[in-house]
Symmetry: C2
Amino acid sequence: MTKINENFLKLPGNYLFAEIARRVSAYSAEHPDKKLIRLGIGDVTRPLVPAITEAMHRAVDEMGRAETFRGYGPEQGYEFLRKCIVEKDYRPLGVELSPDEVFVSDGAKSDCGNIGDIFAADNIVAVCDPVYTVYVDTNVMAGRAGEYVDGRWTKLLYMPCTEDNHFTPMPPMERADLIYLCFPNNPTGATATREQLRIWVQYALKNESVILYDAAYKSYISQEDIPRSIYEIEGAKECAIEFCSFSKTAGFTGTRCAYTVVPKALRRGEAQLNALWNRRQTTKFNGVPYVVQRGAEAAYSEEGKRQLREVIAYYMNNARVIREGLAAAGLTVYGGVNAPYIWAKIPGGGSSWDFFDLLLKEANVVTTPGAGFGPSGEGYIRLTAFGDAMATREAVERIEAFLKK
Amino acid sequence: MTKINENFLKLPGNYLFAEIARRVSAYSAEHPDKKLIRLGIGDVTRPLVPAITEAMHRAVDEMGRAETFRGYGPEQGYEFLRKCIVEKDYRPLGVELSPDEVFVSDGAKSDCGNIGDIFAADNIVAVCDPVYTVYVDTNVMAGRAGEYVDGRWTKLLYMPCTEDNHFTPMPPMERADLIYLCFPNNPTGATATREQLRIWVQYALKNESVILYDAAYKSYISQEDIPRSIYEIEGAKECAIEFCSFSKTAGFTGTRCAYTVVPKALRRGEAQLNALWNRRQTTKFNGVPYVVQRGAEAAYSEEGKRQLREVIAYYMNNARVIREGLAAAGLTVYGGVNAPYIWAKIPGGGSSWDFFDLLLKEANVVTTPGAGFGPSGEGYIRLTAFGDAMATREAVERIEAFLKK
């Protein structure tokens, strides 16, 4: 009989956002008159900017004419886009990459998950706690997480991110082989300083570990001294893979384009990881739609950059409204300065699912309970800055009013 | 130290189409005056039809307006497209599926590769020989293929497809757990009859195996009695997963959309494979671009269907020209009737790489050597019908002239 991958059966049933959706629709069904405001899921709401839609229209026209039609593109992405990324995302940071160190894909979620293909099943994996659940679940599937006991996976190394360490952990005492870091962080909104990343790179070089660095929110960094890329740190090309995405940078959550950097200098044993990932992608992937890659390219034009700066400013104004509003109402809040996420401490130390329910029922605002991101998320809720500006302001007022009751 | 997946190091260096590209560019560099005609890679050349580009333009406009903008879509694809597939691809065949048995994705290559995630590493895998290399290489990566010895993987079960069995194998005597079948076949162009598929379904039900059925070329079937889907066979929903694609049906090789059917009736042990694949896709994938899904939907409109029938007729006329031309020149040819591939026997039983080189140098036509698809492909070359009609006719004339020398 065909044997299934038994690791799948270990995964707990309810995905965080599915459980939120369930509670929200149950409440809505009982109270159809209530107007809910959703600051839960981290999904953008502003439309694609004109520079991008114009480029996509041009590309659709090209696809409709025999002379300019494109069939299979390079699995790794078109040179025009890989060059843009190298020249306009990395060169300004003082980071030199070659285009064939950049792999264009359909999403950072796909890449963060699929990257596991090139690693053995017996590596020790370290994750932040709280954490973006994809890092954990994909390692469960690959057999690297062990068993789920009391809300924790027995083989994972959890790195608590708490107020004490400003939500940015130091390397563990133990050896970890694969380390997932995400800065600016989802869900806490924390960032890592140059010095903190330097300590991580030194740890990874010493232990010959690989850092899987998720920089999907780098466009939201507003403070000058915060690194946008782990490659700003010396030695990182020998120990880090970096995941970036157009989802939050250019509003591409429904348009799907991302990229992953695997430097050629990154070797483990005899293997060059760039060659392994190239083999994985050419065998199991067929590239991103031409029309989408032309849209992504337009994000780097002068017009595109200007228009996208306005979109990010719009969201970051929401972040400020949430942060300042909740602080004025007496909550302790983190994030929202270099990230579109606000991580708010629940007053009186209540449970995050209880507080989620309270805000849903009393303020009609949907948030995300911190416990959904891991044990150390308990006692917090996450709010996102991706909503409509008016609705965000109203949500904050409703929460303030509820807290003052 | 981080341990890599050692299986990657077992993969032979040169991917078939990379080796072809190398030989072609070496020849072109030496003979820059020669005009090559490429009938090698199976990539479409006709532009997207108007019904599709119009739908994509409308969708791009929607993405540019706040009121109609779409962020994350369902990982499994939008309901509008899943419904189209169920109602317009399957219902006319007498096959009833529910939309949540259909998973829209970025490509059949991705799905054929990623499907391995849900199966254990110790399943016995059977593949046709010759075969689309992705089935083999992805199983090598997953550790199911064993070692590469004398051009064969020690743990794979090869099913030779030869003139004797009309390139459609019977089930093996041994037990196989995962069986890759592709009809209409790439590379041989062979199809399976209803009776042949019935024997396969019975074998899979008896052995509790899973058939991975690649139907990417189903739109090219011209004979009425050839099944378009394995689900036309009773019992197939209990033992088969089917991969389909818009690549060859609607010219989407550069636009990227496909779908995979995992029936809910398909269970192994306690597990429902639909639930496993759903978990895999929701964890490691974020859906297909909205604009692309609207384009795929338009392939099912009356206008879209009519326009696409013309495109397929164009390619199938090329297939006829190749088939009849080579036969007239004395070659034994297969395929090209229900498939866009022609599988031609090399006169005098020469090596397929030698004959590839001969056609490249003497006729300036690029083909694909059969040996690149597996040991039983030796002695054949593959030609594709996806070229320009005039160029295809000229290529056939050149080959005829060369053979008559």
